[in-house]
């Protein structure tokens, strides 16, 4: 076994010392976190960028109502004709003009109202604008039924239902979605790792073949040792990269969150000078509560078991696929010849991703999801997507986990056995682009 560890060491170092590997390993988390931070920042920027609209109100209704709209600033226009108002709004570059005509009743005024803008307005904005009108209309109708303005305001207060598990644990809404997103992320990560590291193995086999090192080495070690050493060494490099990503990614996210948090406080204190300070404070404390809830939700996800199962499924799935990749690498002379063999390898992975995103999201423990999470060529991805909801009660039943891992191990052993046969013959064959029939023949040599 001394030789196997020598090969593993060489393959590992050859991968880890590679410049592009080092760059990828340390740059990716920075890029990822940077992207997320950028998106968050842009969202904040967009959010704080209030739309300005003008209001030409010729009626006696809606005097202060438009000013209450969130995210919208209002400029009131007076003593202008509609045409003048349109012109000046356009010249000032504002988002649009709300025109409420002069009318004797609320209904008339409302029905005659128009919103003029350069481009068609966004749904979000329109909803908000319509809410303003609707609020008054409802109020008016209710008033006629004897409900006062204050009473109506009290009724309209929002309500959200509390949810809990049967064990009495407080549940949070959206946990399922969050679980699915995180599970999907992990499943996707596994697919990427399998494809990336599988092709590393393939390229390394092809390199040995084209440089003819294989001829020198093969007299010292068994082809099987070489293949396994290569697969294990490369997978260790993958695990190294994953651990570096997890550690540095967490640190970076922490840093970014701290910076964003500080930003929020800065925003708050800046806002305190304004007259709506109180209202804003209420809003932002609600937001903080929300963030806290989401943070709790985040902590409810079984991270440790997710990471451990990620490693288990990554390693097993990777071992299966990379032995196939190794056999392909051994069969061909250069990378362009690998195309014909790649599709059958990649398609189960793609299938797993699609099935995962479609059926695991909607029903994580339904028959389709269960089936694909047991089938060994798709289970590493689909099972991991399901696992974010935990193991046992409310999550993946233990027997399914055991069966899927057992099936993976059995598949791994038989695929490695087949791949080794192709590998053994393939590495010493040059010059001919093999067909599937050739590969079948090699199995029988």
């Amino acid at each position: 076994m001394g030789k196997l560890s020598l090969i593993i060491k060489r393959e590992y170092l050859a991968k880890v010392k590679n410049k592009s590997f080092i760059i990828m390993t340390f740059l990716s988390p920075v890029l990822m976190v940077g992207m997320v931070a950028l998106v968050l920042y842009l969202a904040m920027l967009n959010g704080s960028d209030k739309r300005v609209i003008t209001v030409l109100n010729e009626s006696s209704f809606y005097t202060d109502d438009f000013g209450k709209m969130e995210d919208v600033s209002v400029v009131k226009l007076k003593n202008l004709t509609l045409e003048q108002a349109k012109d000046s709004t356009e010249q000032l570059g504002y988002y649009g003009l709300v025109h409420v005509p002069n009318a004797s009743t609320l209904e008339e005024a409302t029905n005659g109202s128009y919103f003029y803008s350069k481009e068609s307005p966004t749904d979000g904005f329109l909803n908000e604008l319509e809410d303003v009108f609707q609020y008054r209309l409802k109020q008016k109708r209710l008033e006629s039924l004897g409900v006062s303005e204050d009473q109506y305001a009290a009724i309209s207060k929002n309500f959200s239902i509390h949810t809990a598990t049967f064990q009495g644990k407080e549940n949070l809404k959206g946990l399922n979605e969050l679980n699915a997103i995180i599970g999907g992320g992990f499943g996707y990560l596994i697919m990427m790792f399998i494809i990336i590291y599988g092709s590393f193995v393939m390229r390394s086999v092809i390199e040995e073949k084209t440089s003819r090192v294989i001829e020198v080495i093969i007299s010292s070690v068994k082809p099987f040792q070489l293949m396994m050493g290569k697969i294990i060494g490369t997978s260790l490099a993958g695990v190294t990269q994953f651990i570096i990503w997890v550690v540095s990614g967490s640190i970076l996210f922490l840093v970014v969150f701290l910076i964003l948090d500080l930003d929020m406080e800065a925003l708050e204190s800046a806002g305190s000078g304004l007259p709506q300070a109180q209202a804003m404070n209420v809003a932002s404390s609600g937001m903080e509560e929300n963030i806290q809830q989401y943070a709790e939700m985040f902590l409810q996800i079984p991270w440790l078991s997710l990471f451990s199962f990620f490693l288990v499924y990554f390693i097993l799935g990777y071992l299966i696929y990379s032995s196939i990749y190794a056999a392909i690498g051994a069969a061909v002379d250069n990378e362009t010849d690998t195309q014909q063999f790649m599709l059958p390898v990649i398609s189960p992975l793609m299938l797993a991703i699609y099935v995962g995103f479609i059926s695991v999201f909607s029903n994580p423990h339904g028959p389709v999801a269960v089936g694909f999470s047991l089938f060994p060529l798709t289970s590493p991805i689909v099972m991991l997507m399901r696992l974010s909801s935990g193991v046992g009660e409310g999550g993946v039943p233990v027997w399914q986990l055991v069966v899927s891992i057992a099936l993976l191990i059995v598949t791994f052993l038989s695929i490695v056995w087949l791949a080794a046969k192709i590998y053994r013959i393939g590495i010493l064959m040059y010059g001919k682009k093999p067909s599937y029939r050739d590969l079948y023949k090699w199995l029988k040599y």
Partner: protein, 309 residues
């Protein structure tokens, strides 16, 4: 004479293709054994069987009298014809890795590598990457790696390819030196002049079968055709050739009038040269009379042609 390696009735098929058909060989200890044959004859398959890269379908191989086993790998050194190194690895690292795969400890491998690198005057290559080396330089590293673990049996497949004449000579001297130190060497090549120079024994493989083997000098004797090169000083040539051509086969007769020198090749029915010499001495002065010995090249071509199916 004891043998380092013996193949007994070795056959190997790849699908429908027979790579080796019932080949038996005995390679004596401490000699250089030429393994010859046209391209695709089955030499590489035989060498791979000796290295246990593939296994024979039938027949057996014996190493030093015992059936060939995986542990013998450490006592065989193989320099393949198609050979290479990891391009992005450093020379020293790579040599160490390959030596350790042959079972040497790291310390021992380092010590021996230093010795060989000094011996071949390539000590300053240790930290270079292989891709910076020329082809000949890389070949030297491969040679060192092949012999580093002091194998009892060395297999060199076209060891001189890629070398300039000076370095080819250095490697040739090293091979002879290794033989003097007790190694047995299998030498596979198409370059017949180096066979002539180095090999004591040869085997010729053609179309998956061994068609000839034995001591090179014995084979040469066998392949002598009683052809002689004759140089005769005479004033008149015509009737001599006419007389001789009645009984014998004659090639390339030339006559130089100024020197009165007649030269030709003649084949006799047996090794008995008395009658011819007597006849020639009567006619003039015999300047030279040499038996032509076939070269390895002649033997190779002649045998392969006659045995081609």
């Amino acid at each position: 004479m004891s043998t380092i390696l013996a193949a007994k009735g070795v056959s190997k098929k790849f699908g429908d293709h027979t790579a080796l058909n019932n080949v038996s060989l005995e390679i004596p200890k401490n000699c250089i054994y030429g393994l010859l044959g046209p391209n695709g004859a089955g030499k590489t398959t035989l060498i791979r069987i000796i290295n246990q890269i593939t296994y024979p379908d039938t027949g057996a191989v014996f190493f030093d009298g015992k059936p060939l086993k995986p542990e013998h790998i450490a006592t065989i050194g193989y320099l393949p014809e198609e050979r290479g190194l990891y391009k992005s690895m450093k020379v020293g690292e790579q040599a160490l890795y390959l030596a350790q795969l042959k079972g040497l400890s790291k310390a021992e491998a380092t010590k021996r590598l230093k010795y060989w690198f000094d011996r071949l005057d390539i000590g300053d290559w240790w930290n270079k990457k292989v891709q910076e080396l020329s082809k000949g330089m890389a070949q030297k590293i491969q040679f060192v790696v092949t012999v580093l673990h002091q194998p009892k049996l060395l297999i060199f497949d076209e060891p001189f390819s890629g070398f300039d004449p000076i370095n080819a000579n250095i490697i040739k001297d090293e091979i002879l030196h290794l033989k003097d130190e007790g190694a047995s060497i299998i030498f596979s090549t198409h370059r017949m002049e180096s066979v002539e120079e180095l090999c004591e024994y040869i085997a010729l493989i053609h179309q998956s079968e061994k068609i000839l083997d034995g001591k090179l000098s014995d084979i040469k004797k066998e392949y002598k055709n009683n052809i002689f090169n004759v140089g005769l000083q005479v004033s008149e040539q015509n009737d001599i050739l006419k007389n001789l051509e009645e009984k014998h086969k004659i090639w390339t007769p030339t006559y130089n009038k100024q020197d009165e020198q007649l030269e030709f090749k003649i084949q006799l029915p047996s090794n008995d040269t008395g009658a011819l010499l007597g006849y020639l001495s009567e006619k003039g002065k015999v300047n030279h009379f040499v038996e032509t010995i076939p070269s390895a090249n002649d033997i190779f071509i002649q045998t392969v042609k006659s045995k081609t199916k």
